[in-house]
């Protein structure tokens, strides 16, 4: 049952397998905006501010209220995701179906290792990938607060492409802030990681 549902749900997710209505989105005014090197910006209209290292493209479409995604090379290649001010009881990513396909919810009482597990479980279920794995994990600072940094790897069924990523997270004022960079294992991860980490280092909470 679940696999059938997964297949249909996945087909529904690629809304362009069905005709017209979704395709109208293609002819939108440009959904991508430039973020110039050196530009400081509050991402997702949240209080998380970062400064761009290198030029990036940011998507105007958001996954969740206070998230934002940037890319240098485009959709399906590198992705720098900012997830800001996630409150108690909220999920990290957009939930397809709150009842049948829920994602785990954040709790400020989480230990650093709990945050790592929560990230892994959220990503596994949002991506539908049982080969999503978090590897090395270490203490790190984000926006001046003590947190964690984790390396991960995964593939998704549809494109069968191995990807690698690094994410940093911290709890600040009872809310979770997470920045995640991932890209294809071949070429793109190594190429984009230095500037992604540099951007993570610029993170500040700005009221």
């Amino acid at each position: 049952m679940k696999t059938l549902k997964l297949a249909f749900a996945a087909l529904a997710l690629a809304p362009f397998a069905a005709p017209v209505p979704a395709a109208a989105q293609i002819v939108l005014s440009n959904p991508w905006k430039l973020v110039r090197a050196g530009e400081a910006r509050k991402v997702g209209k949240s209080d998380l501010q970062v400064t761009a290292v290198g030029d990036w493209n940011r998507a105007t479409e958001r996954q969740t209220k206070e998230s934002e995604n940037w890319t240098q090379n485009g959709i399906g290649l590198d992705d720098l995701g900012f997830y800001a001010a996630v409150k108690k009881g909220e999920a990290l990513f957009h939930q397809r179906d709150k009842k049948k396909d829920p994602l785990p919810k954040f709790d400020p009482a989480m230990l650093p290792t709990d945050i790592v597990e929560w990230f892994e479980n959220s990503a596994r279920n949002a991506l539908g990938s049982a080969v999503f794995e978090v590897g090395a994990v270490r203490p790190a600072k984000l926006a001046g607060a003590d947190g964690v940094e984790m390396d991960f790897s995964y593939a998704t069924e549809g494109d069968n492409l191995e990807r690698k990523g690094t994410a940093r997270a911290a709890v600040i004022g009872q809310k979770l802030y997470l920045i995640s960079f991932d890209a294809p294992k071949i070429h793109y991860y190594d190429e984009g990681l230095p500037s992604a980490l540099a951007i993570m280092n610029t993170a500040r909470i700005v009221k």
Binding site: L13, P15, I26, S29, L34, G76, D79, N160, H187, Y188
Partner: protein, 266 residues
């Protein structure tokens, strides 16, 4: 990162057969992009052709694709022959990538998967006027990375990928299409004929040419049709540098994109 799933749909539309009604909204059905100033070296060029994705079937009345083994096998044979006959390949040495096992096979497969991802990004952000990346507005810069040179020993300095998918409208489908139009239900596609091709400079990994066509002609089940199809797939394939020709100027952009259809605003 799960955002990829949503936005990937945008890329999917270019290559999903049943999206055929959608392409009409883009004001056209084909587009080509070439890395600025790129020309092939003079003389014999060694081209490694990755196993092409080819599928031919027929479309049932309800729009299902019914696979047809004979047609697909015939199409594969025809297209392979047509490739070798095509004028753009004159003077080149073509090698078809072998089926490999083990670690070597994995490298080949991984680069093929990466090519598809890079091609999707290039389509998405170059072929559709509304979707350009501000950092890549005036150039065509996508790469598979220098590691692509690992593939050169398989037989090429350049890698060629191509994909074609045909689903011929059955009589029932054609009738339904006409009825639909008559009853004002809008144009329903009868038959789907899509394809794309790309060329990678394996020394640098750079994507130097990409061509997509969502409404291809040529019946690939016949030799003449395959020739016509191959000509469309290889449209504006990079030419060779002429003897004595100086190095090309940089910054020249050669991008054809479909014009926005007037009146089709969101």
């Amino acid at each position: 990162m799960p955002m990829r799933r949503m936005l990937a749909g945008l890329a999917a539309v270019a290559l999903v057969a049943s999206a055929a009604p959608a392409y009409a909204q883009f004001g056209g059905a084909e587009s080509t992009a070439v890395k600025p100033g790129f020309v092939l070296p003079a003389g014999e060029v060694r081209i490694l052709v990755f196993r092409p994705d080819i599928a031919v079937g027929s479309q049932t009345t309800g729009g299902m694709n019914e696979p047809n083994a004979d047609w697909t096998k015939q199409a594969r044979a025809n297209l392979v022959a047509a490739l070798q006959r095509n004028p753009a390949m004159a003077g080149n040495r073509i090698t078809f990538a072998p089926e490999l096992e083990g670690a070597q096979g994995t490298v080949l497969n991984d680069y093929t998967a990466l090519f598809k991802a890079v091609a999707f990004a290039a389509f998405n952000h170059k072929m559709f006027p509304g979707n350009r990346l501000p950092t890549k507005k005036s150039d065509f810069e996508w790469t598979l990375g220098e590691g692509a040179a690992q593939l050169k020993p398989l037989g090429g300095d350049f890698g060629l990928f191509f994909y074609t998918n045909d689903s011929y409208g059955s009589t029932g489908r054609k009738v339904a299409q006409i009825l639909g139009a008559v009853m004002g239900m809008g144009l329903m596609s009868s038959g789907v004929h899509v394809g794309y091709a790309g060329l990678v400079d394996l020394t640098t990994g750079d994507l130097v040419w990409l061509n997509a066509d969502l409404a291809m002609g040529g019946d690939v089940r016949t030799a003449e049709g395959a020739d016509k199809r191959m000509a469309q797939l290889l449209e504006e394939f990079p030419r060779k540098r002429l003897p004595g020709e100086p190095a090309p100027p940089s910054g020249t952009v050669k991008v054809d994109v479909p014009p926005e259809t007037p009146g089709k605003k969101p």
